[in-house]
Symmetry: C2
Subunit: 344 residues, 2 copies
């Protein structure tokens, strides 16, 4: 018996490493000291920060992976993953330095791996982040055919005094919402139950209500807010960033609030994209549950002092960003209150 | 329909986060600036390095996870994972700074998650590493009951001039082998095929040949070589470290060799632990395949110049380490040659 007979193919893994190396190299900054393939990845800490703080985060893309398997499109989830991680560290004001990935498959399929890495490399390029290393695990019996799991790890850096300080958030501060690009990467277990379980749709179906094919709509890339907001990191006018992911508005906005403040969000200030209304109606989902699960069209909420509001809005307009003033900070106890006929 | 009906339980996730926070906090160094639960984890870069290089690595524990599920023991794989990652960055001479984990389960089971984190925290404490963040993904339909996947991500740091330089390795250098603690974390797909597929054993079976229960033998913790070797990092006498993992001797030792050198390993210089002979005989595995898949009792091979051999050996003896001089570097082209009746 050989290791290959047990379903594990080291030769195929080595072949994949070659193609990964080529794709990853294109993302390398000058601080990367090694190629992919050594035991550890080396990144020289050359920087101009006086009190540097490393900001790290790890994430997966959840059961959005199932859509990737159903459509056999593997080049989007890696991009989702990088963007999700980038947004998470951006909430601490960090710029991305480098990224590592973990990919687990039932059987090493070189084309699938290459597609996944293409997505990761796209995300890394978009965010000026080096794809410095990764692990491919071939796990026969763990995953169904065409299935895989993927996790990402990001390291960024921020000047200590530029880390948003929750204690500076106060009643009267303004909440600015930035548009999402569809569902991003959360709520997919519920989405799948409604679209494929209840409605018996397929990824090939066209939905006139959302003017899109099911697969294309669900695989839209999680938007990264770093390219837009990066110039503001130096200025330091943003007091808090809430990345609207799992837990929706209710769980993520409080992460930017001190215990003495709450947030009021007026849901009539932006138009909820049709995919969310479609899910709500067809899934018979209470409105509160919608805002507890999905981003509802707003992927990032910024907290800004009322005195800086104009400066932020001028900046966003100069970037042609279609933002909304979605609410404000009030006295309270770290809660989120929704107004604006949000259950309509 | 609610998100919970789709099999995802955010409340349970929040409860788990509390217990994780408690366990993780015990591992925090003074450089950790935040608790688990913010979007990103903050680590202040206070250090005494003049040219710091960050060394990162990511890994899983492969299908050793299956043994964890079979025995319903979840507190060992996290420890394996940390130790594996620590060894990987130690090959660049790095000391660990912090660690993040990704855990994916079919259904969030608080006890299972807590056990996993207990293992991670043990590993982090052993290696003086802060468990700074992580992600729990609840993925209904992706994993079988009692199954899970786990990936780890480590960041360490090394002085640039202390990174082992492959170009300094030359013919005549000595290879010192350090003992493993059993199978560590690779080759488990093959192990399972032989023990559970062919021999129809269970994890409860006692094997007189190895004087151990199958489950206990297979779950032995992947040894970390950092606590032993950490004092040598400053001295800089080790020219190369080969962590013997997937790909065994043949794929890992060449990673420490320049293209102009090969390695000769005399397999008679140490006693192969009985689990390996048992697998070889019962799986009818060619000897070359054994050394291409398993660590065969040697989990780390150090390359040392012949003039430093005595100093290294004196150090290892002072630590009561049972090491072996397993071979030497010769002129060649980056290959590994085994001698010593290794197919016996």
């Amino acid at each position: 018996m050989k290791y290959r007979d047990a379903g594990v193919n080291i030769k195929a893994a080595q072949k994949s490493v070659k193609s990964i190396r080529r794709l990853a190299r294109e993302t390398f900054s000058k601080n990367v000291l090694t190629d992919i393939g050594s035991f550890g990845a080396l990144y020289e800490m050359k920087h101009s920060y006086s009190q540097p703080v490393l900001v790290s985060s790890t994430d997966g893309v959840g059961t959005k992976l199932e859509i990737s398997s159903m459509t056999e499109r593997y080049d989007t989830t890696g991009h989702d993953l990088v963007n999700h991680c980038v947004n998470d560290i951006l909430t601490s004001g960090a710029e991305p330095l480098f990224f590592l990935d973990y990919i687990a498959t039932p059987k090493l399929n070189e084309n699938m791996i290459e597609e996944i890495i293409i997505g990761l490399a796209k995300g890394c390029k978009e965010n000026n982040c080096s794809l410095i290393g990764g692990e491919m695990a071939e796990m026969p019996d763990f995953y169904k055919e065409k299935h895989y799991d993927i996790a990402g790890f990001i390291i960024g850096i921020v000047e200590k005094k530029r880390i948003p300080d929750i204690k500076k958030v106060k009643p009267g501060d303004i909440l600015i919402g930035l548009k999402s690009n569809g569902l991003h990467t959360n709520g997919f277990s519920l989405v799948r139950k409604i679209l494929f379980g209840k409605l018996k749709l397929t990824v090939e179906d066209y939905l006139p209500e959302i003017k899109n094919y099911v697969g294309d709509e669900l695989l839209k890339i999680h938007r990264s807010y770093y390219p837009l907001l990066s110039p503001l990191r130096e200025i330091g006018i943003i007091k808090g960033y809430a990345h609207i992911t799992g837990g929706g508005f209710y769980d993520n906005i409080p992460r930017t609030l001190p215990h003495t403040c709450s947030a009021v969000i007026d849901t009539s200030t932006w138009e909820t994209p049709p995919i969310f209304s479609f899910l709500q109606e067809n899934g018979d989902i209470p409105a509160a549950e919608m805002y507890h699960t999905f981003n509802m069209g707003i992927g990032m909420v910024l907290v800004v002092g009322s005195e800086q509001e104009h400066e932020l809005e001028t900046f966003l307009k100069s970037k042609n960003e279609d933002f909304c003033k979605v609410g404000k900070v009030i006295e309270g106890e770290g809660k989120v209150e929704l107004t604006g006929g949000y259950d309509g």
